[in-house]
């Protein structure tokens, strides 16, 4: 046996620069390459693009999307969908802001209370989604579409559609625009969220259960996995991550808004899928989901800087989305060609 080594033997003689490149491509995936292509293209189109400042600001702008994408990612892994992630963002934004602005104590305590309230609200929303999916057995697409409507309605009802202002300056200065070691706090937080999630998913038992439930719910149940608890965990995690993103966004906007996040559900799913996450559940890596979100963010930022007409932007966005997935298909093809010793 050890067929593996056999393949290597047959493949080696054909080694060349191209085959080497193909191997790298197969190994690291298509996203890093796409990101590099995007960086080069846009830096040719605009002088302001490839500057430390701009890249930093693009990352900071997108940090809440990255965090929300991580939330979506967890749910997708578990074989679900979260269409309510935008509505959760809105509801959390509103409730954080209301909690904060109703505090009369020190700014610090107001900020802390606001954040705690926001995250709790996000988790409660996730819990509701999880209960619907796991115990009432409602299709996640419909369940989260339904709760999205409910959460948005609640957010509007709480505020009557008027933004909630009067947040402590510190909140925005610190979380929205603050930096540590020259890098925005929100970027640090996104990084932290990614690392924590990575640890959860790859190194812990509940994380493994999420993968297994997403891959085959019946097989997981038969292996003694508590499907109910696992799904709840996935949705609550998503809710909590959406909440963290919402808090960052609120800090950036300095108001609680009921009218944000509408494009998040589809955008986060797109980011995750571009990152190679399977919509059928059970497959995907944290890093790829993050890269997917970053890639979409960079494309948007680059097109803005290159002053592309916004109608064209829509068209370009669509084409890029499709191409990214096609490129990943190519990679899979190339992979089998490489293994078959043809490259």
């Amino acid at each position: 046996m050890t067929l593996q080594s056999e393949v290597e033997v047959t493949a080696r003689p054909r080694g060349s620069v191209i085959s080497y490149a193909a191997r790298i491509f197969v190994r690291i995936g298509v996203l890093p390459i796409l990101v590099v292509i995007a960086l080069i293209t846009f830096s040719l189109m605009s002088d302001n693009f490839l500057t430390v400042d701009n890249i930093h600001s693009a990352l900071r702008q997108n940090s809440y999307i990255i965090i929300a994408t991580l939330g979506q990612f967890v749910v997708l892994l578990a074989g679900g969908f979260d269409l309510s992630i935008g509505a959760i963002t809105a509801l959390v934004s509103v409730s954080t802001a209301m909690a904060m602005s109703s505090q009369t104590g020190s700014p610090l305590s107001a900020v802390v209370i606001g954040i705690v309230v926001g995250v709790l609200v996000g988790m409660a929303c996730g819990l509701l989604n999880g209960l619907g999916v796991a115990s009432l057995n409602i299709n996640p697409f419909i369940m989260t579409l339904a709760t999205a409507s409910v959460f948005s309605g609640l957010a509007l009802m709480l505020t009557s559609g008027v933004p909630v202002s009067g947040l402590p300056m510190e909140f925005s200065d610190w979380l929205g625009y603050g930096s540590v070691f020259g890098i925005g706090i929100s970027i640090w937080l996104a990084l932290l969220a990614a690392v924590v999630l990575w640890v959860l998913l790859t190194l812990t038992r509940p994380g493994r259960h999420i993968y297994s439930v997403g891959s085959s719910p019946r097989a997981a149940r038969l292996s003694g996995v508590n499907e109910f608890r696992t799904l709840i965990l996935a949705y609550v995690t998503a809710g909590a991550l959406a909440a963290v993103g919402a808090v960052l966004l609120t800090a950036r906007l300095e108001t609680g808004e009921a009218n944000i996040g509408a494009s998040l559900p589809l955008q986060t799913i797109a980011a995750a899928v571009i990152g190679g996450v399977s919509l059928r559940g059970g497959a995907g890596r944290v890093l790829d989901a993050v890269l997917g979100a970053v890639f979409i963010g960079i494309v948007a930022n680059g097109m803005n800087l290159a002053q592309i007409n916004s109608y064209y932007q829509m068209i370009v966005t669509g084409v890029v989305l499709a191409l990214a997935v096609v490129a990943d298909r190519l990679r899979t093809r190339l992979a089998s060609a490489v293994y078959a010793g043809k490259v």
Partner: protein, 353 residues
């Protein structure tokens, strides 16, 4: 009359011809004492600078470019930029639900812009962004929608509250003080301008005999407004007026015609679009106030240039509202408000072109 294909219908006054040159100045404006909307107001005239000293880069951010209203603004800012010899870039966020996107776009834009003109998605939500722009020394002009920040350099806008107010006043007058029933369609719930409209409309009707029997919030897609109108007609077959967004007024036409209610129910929008314009010409819409959207854009660009060049400027102006009805249609210069026929949105203007 701005649909590229509508020339067959609207005949006579095509606004395109009137658009050229600087025929708009001087414009009649309201001038506020300071940035607050409730500060003292006086009447005045506005005349722009002739040419900018430098080809400044001005970035314009708007909520979206999906309807003719914002196209009117686009027309105003683009023409003014061209006439003043400055560079202009416009970004649009794709809809009122995309506040986050707008802040991103503004930040992206600000990297190369000397001044910004912002049609804000949210009244409060951009304050932090404005603070930062102000800190960076970039003038910020608040156009059309309004922001609460005290860091904006100047405002070129009228309030939707006022627009709704004069629409309501028209309604009271038009109904001759009788007890009439009206269905009211302010726009999308949660959108700042729609909430302002709601406030102004209800406040103006407070002591009148007009009864608002139903308030229906909804997206300003024409399909959404159509459905709302039909549902309201089913619930209240006896209403006398349909008042709401310009889209509502446009959508009401065919529905009322179908039910042979065109003569019984009168229709007004509380802002102005090509559809309401055609509607007034055809008699399917009775009234709509113009906020002179294009002029607001022109003034905003001029204010930005003045601020950049440290020249004197009015801190807070807005074109005088004009109630357009069949009677006043003749005197109304549509180029103050709408983009001319065949105008295609201009996202960049290069100085000297």
């Amino acid at each position: 009359a701005c649909g590229s294909a509508s020339t067959t219908e609207s005949g006579g006054d095509t606004p395109a011809s009137a658009a050229a040159g600087k025929s708009w100045a001087p414009a009649k404006v309201d001038i506020w004492a300071d940035l607050a909307m409730d500060s003292e107001r006086s009447k005045g005239e506005y005349t722009p600078l002739d040419k900018a000293e430098k080809p400044w880069n001005i970035c314009v951010s708007v909520p979206h470019m999906k309807d003719a209203y914002w196209l009117g603004l686009n027309y105003g800012v683009a023409e003014q930029a061209r006439e003043s010899g400055v560079n202009m870039t416009m970004v649009e966020a794709g809809g009122y639900e995309n506040l986050d996107k707008q802040t991103q776009q503004i930040e992206d834009c600000a990297q190369s812009a000397d001044a910004l003109v912002i049609g804000a998605i949210s009244y409060d939500g951009l304050n932090k962004t404005v603070d930062r722009l102000a800190a960076a020394g970039k003038p910020v002009i608040d156009v059309v929608n309004g922001m609460s920040s005290d860091k904006v350099t100047a405002k070129s806008l009228v309030s939707f509250n006022d627009l709704a107010d004069i629409t309501a006043k028209w309604l009271i007058e038009d109904s001759k003080g009788e007890a009439v029933k009206v269905a009211w369609f302010p726009g999308p719930s949660g959108a700042g301008w729609a909430e302002a409209g709601e406030e102004g409309f209800k406040a103006a009707l407070k002591d009148s005999k007009v009864e608002v029997v139903d308030t229906k919030w909804g997206d300003t897609g024409k399909d959404a407004q159509s459905r709302l109108i039909e549902d309201v007609l089913a619930a209240h077959p006896d209403i006398d007026y349909i008042i709401g967004t310009a889209v509502t007024a446009e959508a009401a036409g065919p529905i009322l015609r179908d039910r042979s209610l065109s003569d019984k129910i009168r229709v007004a929008g509380y802002y102005f679009t090509p559809g309401t314009y055609t509607g007034i010409q055809r008699g399917t819409v009775q009234a709509a106030p113009s906020d002179s959207t294009a002029l607001q854009g022109r003034i905003a660009i001029d204010q930005a240039i003045r601020a950049l060049e440290k020249k004197e400027f009015m801190k807070h102006v807005g074109p005088e509202l004009v109630m357009v009805t069949k009677d006043t249609l003749g005197d109304f210069d549509v180029a103050t408000t709408l983009a001319p026929d065949g105008w295609s949105p201009t996202f960049t203007v290069k100085a000297g072109s």
